[in-house]
């Protein structure tokens, strides 16, 4: 394996880290919407710290290694349409993902506060479409990046 192969393998592993975090968050969104009591909801939020390094580290590494691959490659350039599309989609995913994270972090803080009123608000926010739609949009953009990377339109 040469330098390029190693970068490609690590780039792919970074993408898998992002996918793993998105899957974890999907499970949390689904289970959170169905949870009836305060305790299972609080328990569920304990999973969130697992996703943070996966999605954060995975995103940064995928970007850096992707740029290195584009520079090192003899067959394509960083200004190719599909590479630029991937960079734009990466930024869009980061923006929507950040918004999703802020939404659920606020819900988690509310859940940790306790109190009957707060717990009702937590349940309402977990069942509201806002968070789920934001998460779905993040996943959709990730799938678009995956399609762009694999199909390489224009290459």
């Amino acid at each position: 394996m040469d330098f390029y192969d190693w970068m490609l393998a690590l780039h792919l592993l970074s993408a898998f880290a992002i996918a793993s975090a998105l899957t974890l968050y999907s499970v949390m969104v689904v289970v959170g919407r169905r949870a009836d009591d305060a305790e299972p909801r609080r328990t569920l939020f304990r999973l969130a710290p697992l996703g943070t390094p996966l999605v954060g580290g995975g995103s940064v590494l995928a970007l850096i290694l992707g740029v290195i691959l584009a520079i090192d490659s003899d067959t394509f350039e960083i200004w190719d349409g599909w590479v630029i599309a991937a960079l734009v989609l990466w930024a869009v995913m980061g923006a929507i993902g950040g918004q999703t994270g802020r939404y659920y972090t606020a819900v988690q803080k509310l859940a940790e506060e306790g109190g009957e009123g707060a717990q009702q608000e937590v349940a309402a926010r977990l069942r509201a479409p806002t968070g789920a739609m934001l998460h779905l949009a993040t996943v959709a953009v990730f799938v678009l990046i995956l399609l762009d990377m694999l199909f390489k339109p224009g290459a």
Binding site: A9, H11, S20, A21, E39, R46, L47, L50, G66, K152
Partner: protein
């Protein structure tokens, strides 16, 4: 990712393979994470989520990954290449997918029985064993992803 240029006729099969693998890996990470974080909990909430995630996410992901693998294998013409001439990365992929599938099946059975017993307050050991197998599978599939990406020899 997957920066090599290949015939576009292979793309869909490889997309199905990679998407399935990502779903499976996500299911394994979620299951192992939930099981380990809830390892010492009195309530079985997280251990139950771990077992159910293996069934509802990792298993469908494994099936999609495996179907995609066969499709890609056929599209890329490996059917026509004698086994001894096939590259190492392909062998690593096959071995990890199939051995991993057996381990996943065992984890599912242990988790399924564990979830049933958890309703009566038992099953902790079975659910923990299922978590350990999920964690082992993550290591197996990280090697597989590395091999598929870097394609050694």
């Amino acid at each position: 990712m997957l920066a090599a240029v290949r015939p576009h006729s292979w793309d869909l099969a490889i997309f199905v393979h990679v998407a399935g693998a990502m779903i499976m890996m996500g299911g394994l990470v979620t299951a192992a994470g939930a099981g380990l974080i809830g390892w010492r909990d009195g309530a079985a909430t997280l251990r139950r989520i771990a077992a159910l995630t293996l069934f509802a996410v990792a298993l469908p992901g494994w099936i999609i990954m495996r179907v995609g693998a066969e499709w890609a294998y056929s599209k890329e013409g490996w059917d026509d290449v004698p086994d001894k001439l096939q590259p190492t990365w392909l062998g690593i992929g096959y071995i990890t997918a199939d051995v991993g599938g057996i381990i996943l099946l065992i984890a599912l059975i242990l988790g399924g029985i564990g979830v049933r017993k958890a309703r009566g307050g038992g099953g902790t050991g079975l659910l923990k064993a299922s978590t350990v197998l999920a964690a082992l599978l993550i290591a197996v599939y990280v090697v597989s992803v590395w091999a598929m990406g870097g394609k050694p020899s």
